[in-house]
Amino acid sequence: METNPSELTREHGLDLLRRMLLIRRFEEKCAELYSAAKIRGFLHLCIGEEAVAVGALSLLAEDEAVVSTYREHGHALVRGVSAGAIMAEMYGKQEGCARGRGGSMHLFDARTRFIGGNAIVGAGLPLAVGLALADKMQSRSRASCCVFGEGAVAEGAFHESLNLAALWRLPVLFLCENNLYAMGTSIEYEQSVHNIAWKAEAYHVASASADGMDVLAVEAAARAALTHIRNGEGPYLLECRTYRFRGHSMFDAQEYRSKAEVEEWKKRDPIADLALHLKGAGIFTDADMEKVEREIAAEVQAAIDFAEAGTWEPVEDLTRFVYSEPAAA
């Protein structure tokens, strides 16, 4: 853990831990519910990567927008999208955060400015640039954050977006979750340069790399990045080096990586590590952990109950929301 333990209060440590654990337990349930065929389509879990979502996105102000990927349950939870609405979405219920039209890959929530679950790799980056442009033109100094994997860095959209954001000095946080694989393709086969943060220099975009398995390190790096951005100094790329413990999606036989590699990374579990760190600092006990686990179990169960109790949108409404309804105009 990077931070000096004395700087970390019990309250803050507990908050980080609870947020990460909520993601973990929520997604573990998702996997079960997928096997039970309650959740369908593609399901991408971020288990192992929780420190990035929690360390970085917790720092955003309420009205700072996030544009995310298809691996976005964690991001949505951290941003305050209701767990029940997320679960209902994956059930395909109209109480879902996208009325069941989106599913796991397309969580949306206007209240928290969570602008999606986007499943075209790289396509979210220009959106964040545009959100930031709108802010700048309206003299707002808030940040817009775009999350993407290192695989997206190979897309032209990455290149065009960084150049635009730098040219126009826009308040964008480019948050890269470098988990070393794009689906089954290791970074070795997808990036000629593995140091993603360094690539930002080719655009004069400020950047840093953080240990994505250490929530405190992510938080410290993200805080610095957001200060830069909100001060009007332009965009910032933060690369977090992390690892997904599960397959790319629920269909993945994982033949492209060794079990040993996965086990090695699991030793760096961001949740277990933080718990250990807090204990070491004497501000956390096994009893605390049990309590948090209990509370989260209840929260996840409540989300499932909410989803189960949800209703199906009438088939007659199928063609709604292709165009805005008159009221919206």
Binding site: R101, G102, H106, P126, G130, A132, D135, F321, V322, A328
Partner: protein
């Protein structure tokens, strides 16, 4: 009310100026819209009038700036994004279809995308296969967007503001060959409605359904035909998505013969859709099968004689009309 002479280009520029004046949230961005004055000189002078924030040159980054336009729309602005030529828009088609057109539906009605995307289209200027295609009819396949095709000065002047009032993405296609067309407009020309086709020339013998630059060719053909005693009704579709079926069907129900003139390629073009709709809605009214005059299915060649041979012409339109009226049609 007095009138004044101007070109289609002037009318389009006036529409931009008007929009920029009316609404602070409106801005124009695209390649060479500012310092160069627009590839077709449409935005000339606007930089001086509105400054580089609101008349914004972009790098050659179609994915980036179209995506940024979508993002800015999500962020509360009313962007007008210019793509120089429809061929280049293919680079941004992912943003247009997978994001702009889909976001409202995917988000269960939460995120509206009030972006207007303008582009030049069409052949006839010997610009070759990468600058001359007419894909506006093809774009009309995409649910979630509206497709406008101003053929007249009135529409070049009036459609933009109406488009900007739409909470959903609108694409406006300006045929390159129209920019120099001269005409008059009343001094107080302003917004026009965009849901109805317009009967540009009434006639009893057949219905010619067309749009954009082909309108003028069809009207020329109609004059020729009139001299031969054939009275063609000529419909300017004005909007390709959604199509105004009612106006087409009402006309065909009177004339019993229909000819579609479309600068797009024939196979799978909007001409096919119009034919199919007439089939479905007016089959029993038809004296003859609906006919089509379209662009030859070739990437448009440079040489003038070949290019002109590829495009619909007043002569080919008149010939097809005569065929529809002939006893062995």
């Amino acid at each position: 009310m007095s009138e004044r002479k101007l070109t289609y280009r002037d009318a389009a520029r006036e529409a931009l100026r008007d929009a920029l004046q009316r609404d602070e949230r409106v801005f124009l961005m695209g390649e060479d819209v500012a310092h160069y004055g627009g590839c077709f000189a449409v935005s000339r002078g606007l930089l001086a009038e509105f400054g580089p924030e609101r008349v914004r040159d972009t790098p050659l980054s179609e994915v980036g700036f179209v995506g940024a336009g979508i993002g800015a729309a999500l962020g509360g602005m009313r962007p007008i994004v210019e793509i120089m030529t429809v061929n280049f828009s293919l680079l941004a088609l992912d943003q247009i279809m997978n994001t702009a057109a889909s976001l409202l539906h995917m988000s269960g009605g939460q995120f509206h995308v009030p972006v207007v995307i303008r582009m030049a289209t069409g052949g006839g200027k010997q610009l070759g296969a990468q600058h001359s295609h007419s894909l506006e009819g093809w774009y009309a396949h995409i649910p979630g967007i509206k497709v406008l095709v101003p053929a007249t000065l009135e529409d070049a002047r009036g459609m933009l503001w109406t488009a900007l009032e739409s909470p959903d993405p609108v694409l406006i296609f300006e045929n390159q060959t129209l920019y120099n067309m001269e005409g008059t407009l009343p001094d107080d020309a302003g917004p026009v409605e965009i849901t109805r086709a317009r009967i540009q020339r009434p006639g009893r013998d057949l219905t010619i359904v067309t749009y954009s630059a082909s309108l003028w060719k069809a009207l020329t053909a109609a004059d020729t035909l009139a001299a031969e005693g054939i009275e063609a009704e000529v419909i300017d579709l004005r909007t390709l998505r959604p199509l105004d079926d009612a106006t087409i069907i009402e006309s065909v129900a009177r004339t019993h013969r229909a000819l579609i003139v479309d600068e797009g390629w024939r196979s799978g073009g909007i001409s096919a859709e119009i034919s199919a709709r007439i089939m479905e809605q007016a089959f029993y009214e038809l004296e003859r099968p609906v006919a089509r005059v379209c662009t030859a299915e070739v990437p448009l060649p440079y040489a003038k004689h070949l290019e002109q041979a590829a495009l619909p012409q007043p002569e080919t339109i008149a010939a097809a009309a005569r065929q529809l009226l002939s006893s062995n049609g």
